[in-house]
Every structure is written in structure tokens, then in C-alpha cells.
């Protein structure tokens, strides 16, 4: 077997750079997502350090990254939690959708995007980043706050809405007639409903299919299954990501917990490749003219998220400070906005650069804003140095 020195070297340098920079962002409690995007931008076409040899590998890694991101999202999800949440937080979820999809849709319309572009941009401004928000809540010691269940419930509803939204968007992006589109959407929604029912009824059987004491076996089986289902979903005209989400959904209970832990490091690695790939696909020169639009959109949609949080937390008895905290923490957009763009953005389309700039701004500014509005209540206990 021939080993490509160039591939190993390029990939090694990229990962080392990401690792080093990630350490710095972690220290400040900022998500690494914008960092990966930035590094991708710098190394892409027209950037300072192109990657001729590793590019292809990063592309492949990116596809796996989306699958793993959505798989672990599905694993997070339990039908019981969802039904309870649905019963109590539907108004909040609706306000969230309407208030935050609107700025994106309007911006898309003003920019003269087509229907697909408008729907995509609406999605980009709608979904908060579950990963970053839940991490922030944890880092800022907010789990016990009054408004936290509301914030988490909104994230859950958004994530679930994505399972319906992504296939619809994939159908739109594929083009085709109205009738064909509607049929595909119906199929996608039908499959989702079936998957939920299966997970509810026969979750343990799906579990038995992949379960094994041996971690290696477990990992091979779940990833094998996810990739097969993802490929089938892609073939069927929805998106690979949705297929993986369904697999995650079907696995429940303690096994889901074990799988989450097993997959996490692998997911983080390939997700980094995914964000890199998005950065790589956007020429920095195309990004600059869209920066003002992205900034304006970020400001407006931060406002609408704050309103959403204000309303939702207020419904559940939080006071003014809690309502503001809920709003600001929701302002962070991240991985899902990027997944949406990955689904529809084509070269030459302003959507890719715009959304990349938008996520960059909010994934950096969001955590800072939420920190500034309400710093963590107490410093973490500092153990005394060992004598």
C-alpha cells in the first residue's frame, strides 16, 4: 500500500492547528465551531494555505461527520421526553419558529434568492445550536435555573422540527415538480412517523440488533447501520443526515447512553472535518461583500431570539432576568445552520458565504453575549494544590 506523505502531512498539520486553537477557545468557553469554519476559510480556494492532497479526505470525512452529528442527536432524543415537552411547550416552539424563521426568509427574499434559498435561510436563522447552548448552560451553571427547562425544550422541539424540515428542504433543493415534491415530503414525514412508532414500540429490538458487550463490535455495528440507512435515505431522495437521525431515534434506553459515549469522540473528529469542509467550500473573497448583510441579520435574529426566550420563559414563571438569560443563550446558531447550507448551497450561490459569515458571527458573539448578560453565579470550587 502506498502511503501519501502529502495527505498525512497536510491532515496532521490541520488537526494540530485545530487542536491548538481549540484549547484557546475552550478556555474562554467559546464553541470550536467558528474556529473550524475560520480555518477552513483560510485553507480553501483563494485562502492562504490550500490543501491539494487532504481536500478529498476532508470531503469524505465531512459526509461521515454529518451522519454522526445527526446520529448522536437522535440518540439524545427520547420519545417520552418529546411527548412531555410537546404537551407543555408547543406555543413556545411555535413562537420560536415564526419569530426566528421570519428574518431569514425576509433577508432571502430581499437578496433575491429562489424559494429553496428563502426556505433554507429561514431555517438558518430559526435553529439555535443545541450543542453550543447546552454546553453554555452547563459551563455557566444554569441547569438549576427556572428558565433552563424551557430553553432545553425549545432546543428539543427545534431539533425535532429539523427532522421534518431537512427532508423537505432536500426535496426542494433537488428540484422537480410540485406534485413530486409533495409526494417526497409525504414519504419523508411518513418514514419519520414510522420510525418514531418503531422506536417507541420495538426500540429494544433495534437495540438488540446492535448491542454487544464489546465496545468495538458495538461501534462497528451502529456506524455500519447508520451509514447504510443514511445511504438509503439519500437514494430515496431525502437526506443522509435524516436517515442517521432516524437510526439514533430508534435506539433508546441505557444502550443509547452507552452509544452516546462511544460515538462522541469519533463524532467530534468527523464533525470538525464537516465544518472544515464548509469553510473550504467558501472562498473568503465571496464572504467579504456579504459581511454587512450577515451582521445585520445576526443583530435582527438575536433580537427575535431574545423575544422568543422572553416569551417562553415568562410562560413558565421566570422573572425578567431569567427571561433575558433564556433569550440570549438561544441566540447562538451553529451546526444545524451549517448542515442546512451543506444541503442546498451551490458554488456561486450567495447562501453558502452568507450563512457561513452569519454562523461565524453568532457562534462567537452569542456565548459572549450570554456570558455578559449573566456571568456564572459562583466560581467553580478551586481545589488546593497538593502539598
Amino acid at each position: 500500500m502506498h502511503t501519501s506523505v502529502a495527505l498525512l502531512m497536510e491532515l496532521g498539520i490541520v488537526l494540530a492547528v485545530l487542536g491548538a486553537a481549540g484549547t484557546i477557545t475552550r478556555r474562554f468557553g467559546v464553541s470550536p465551531v467558528p474556529l473550524y469554519l475560520l480555518v477552513g476559510l483560510l485553507m480553501g480556494e483563494g485562502g492562504i494555505a490550500p490543501l491539494p492532497a487532504a481536500g478529498e479526505f476532508i470531503e469524505v470525512g465531512a459526509s461521515i461527520g454529518v451522519v454522526l452529528l445527526l446520529l448522536s442527536l437522535g440518540l439524545e432524543f427520547s420519545v417520552e421526553e418529546f411527548t412531555v415537552t410537546l404537551r407543555r411547550h408547543v406555543p413556545s416552539g411555535l413562537v420560536d419558529m415564526v419569530a426566528n424563521a421570519a428574518p431569514g426568509a425576509v433577508a432571502g427574499w430581499l437578496l433575491g434568492l429562489d424559494a429553496t434559498g428563502i426556505v433554507a435561510l429561514a431555517g438558518v436563522t430559526w435553529v439555535s445550536s443545541s450543542t453550543i447552548v447546552s454546553r453554555l448552560l452547563d459551563d455557566l451553571h444554569r441547569l438549576a435555573y427556572r428558565e433552563t427547562p424551557v430553553v432545553l425544550s425549545i432546543l428539543l422541539l427545534e431539533d425535532f422540527a429539523m427532522a421534518v424540515y431537512l427532508p423537505i428542504l432536500a426535496v426542494l433543493a433537488a428540484g422537480g415538480g410540485l406534485l413530486h415534491g409533495m409526494a417526497s415530503v409525504a414519504v419523508a414525514v411518513g418514514v419519520l412517523a414510522v420510525a418514531l412508532a418503531v422506536s417507541h414500540r420495538w426500540g429494544h429490538r433495534v437495540g438488540r440488533l446492535v448491542d454487544d458487550r464489546d465496545t468495538e463490535q458495538l461501534l462497528l455495528r451502529i456506524i455500519g447501520l447508520s451509514l447504510i440507512v443514511a445511504a438509503a435515505a439519500e437514494l430515496a431522495g431525502t437526506s443522509a443526515a435524516v436517515g442517521a437521525f432516524l437510526v439514533g431515534l430508534a435506539v433508546t434506553g441505557p444502550l443509547a447512553g452507552r452509544l452516546r459515549r462511544v460515538i462522541a469522540p469519533l463524532r467530534d473528529l468527523f464533525a470538525a472535518a464537516f465544518f472544515l469542509a464548509i469553510g473550504l467550500s467558501v472562498p473568503p473573497a465571496a464572504l467579504v461583500p456579504l459581511l454587512p448583510v450577515a451582521l445585520a441579520l445576526a443583530v435582527v435574529s438575536t433580537g427575535t431570539k431574545i423575544l422568543t426566550g422572553w416569551y417562553a420563559a415568562g410562560r413558565h414563571g421566570a422573572g425578567p432576568r431569567g427571561r433575558l438569560r433564556a433569550g440570549t443563550v438561544l441566540a447562538v446558531r451553529g451546526e444545524f445552520s451549517i448542515i442546512i447550507v451543506g444541503l442546498v448551497a451551490l458554488p456561486g450561490n450567495p447562501l453558502g458565504p452568507l450563512a457561513t459569515a452569519y454562523v461565524l458571527v453568532l457562534a462567537i458573539a452569542g456565548p459572549l453575549l450570554t456570558w455578559w448578560v449573566s456571568p456564572p453565579p459562583v466560581r467553580r470550587f478551586q481545589p488546593e494544590p497538593a502539598a
Binding site: 447546552s134 427547562p149 432545553l152 428539543l156 431569567g322 453565579p377
Partner: protein
């Protein structure tokens, strides 16, 4: 005492209760097995004070500290609330053929319908013992079931 349970989707559960002194306490139980204890001082719904955090092992240790003296008491309460259900204590004597064998081998639940919910071994309490749990002479089994079932467990262990 009323304990309110609040769902934290994707994270775990939060329990809240008021102490007799009027302090409002919250416990965040995470899926990871970590616990966070907070208090809610005053009337401000947005004010929370972090008391301490416990890792899974630390939480286990605290449970044991709190649980050991209370375990028998709690089962007594439980049986008062559910008519027909009794709690009993059955000793594994030195002569029992199950001393040194596992709990599963007694097949006590299958044969009598009673559950062995804890094993008291000297100072220690083994809560919710699994079938692979070794029994030793001198262990006290805390059994929940009908009176008849508990007697059944006594017979099995005495044989």
C-alpha cells in the same frame, strides 16, 4: 414532603423540595450520573445559589450515608401505604445452603413473588442487589412481598 420533578430534555431531571425550615432546595440529576445541589433563596425566581456538585461515586457515598440508618424505616413506611404488602428481614444462617452462593441461585422471587430489595451486611447495606450478588452467612435480607411470600423466602434460606 412534596418533591417536584422537572424534566430537563437531553440533560436529565431536576427535583425540588422545601425543607421544614423553609429553604427551597433543587437537585439536578444528570444522565451522566453527576448531581448538582442548589438552593433558591428568597422570592426572586431568577436567583439560584450553587451549593455543591457530586460525581457519581460521591453521590453513591452520600446515598449510603443517608440511606443506611433509614432503610428499614423507609420500608416500614412503604408497607403501611400499600395494604397487603409487607417487609421482612430474613437472615442467611451459617447452616444455610445458600451461604457462599449467589442471590440468583435462591430463585426467591420466582418461587415466592417476593423481592429482595437490600442486603444488610454488618455495617454495610447493599441496596437493590443483583442476582449475581454473593450471599454470606450472617447477611440479613430485606424482603418485600406478601406475608406468605416472606415466609416462603425464610423456608428457602433455611433449607
Amino acid at each position: 414532603m412534596d418533591v417536584t420533578e422537572v424534566l430537563l430534555p437531553g440533560v436529565g431531571l431536576r427535583y425540588e423540595f422545601s425543607t421544614e425550615e423553609g429553604q427551597r432546595i433543587g437537585v439536578v440529576a444528570r444522565r451522566t450520573g453527576d448531581f448538582e445541589f442548589v438552593s433558591y433563596p428568597g422570592d426572586d425566581p431568577d436567583e439560584v445559589r450553587l451549593l455543591f456538585r457530586l460525581g457519581p461515586e460521591e453521590a453513591d457515598a452520600v446515598t449510603e450515608i443517608l440511606g443506611a440508618p433509614r432503610i428499614a424505616e423507609r420500608f416500614a413506611d412503604l408497607t403501611r401505604e400499600v395494604p397487603g404488602l409487607n417487609a421482612g428481614q430474613v437472615e442467611v444462617t451459617a447452616g444455610s445452603r445458600f451461604a457462599g452462593r449467589t442471590l440468583g441461585e435462591t430463585r426467591a422471587r420466582t418461587r415466592t413473588g417476593s423481592s429482595i430489595v437490600a442486603i444488610v451486611r454488618g455495617e454495610d447495606v447493599i441496596a437493590s442487589p443483583g442476582p449475581e450478588q454473593q450471599l454470606r452467612a450472617g447477611d440479613i435480607l430485606v424482603v418485600i412481598g406478601t406475608q406468605q411470600g416472606i415466609t416462603g423466602v425464610e423456608h428457602i434460606l433455611a433449607s
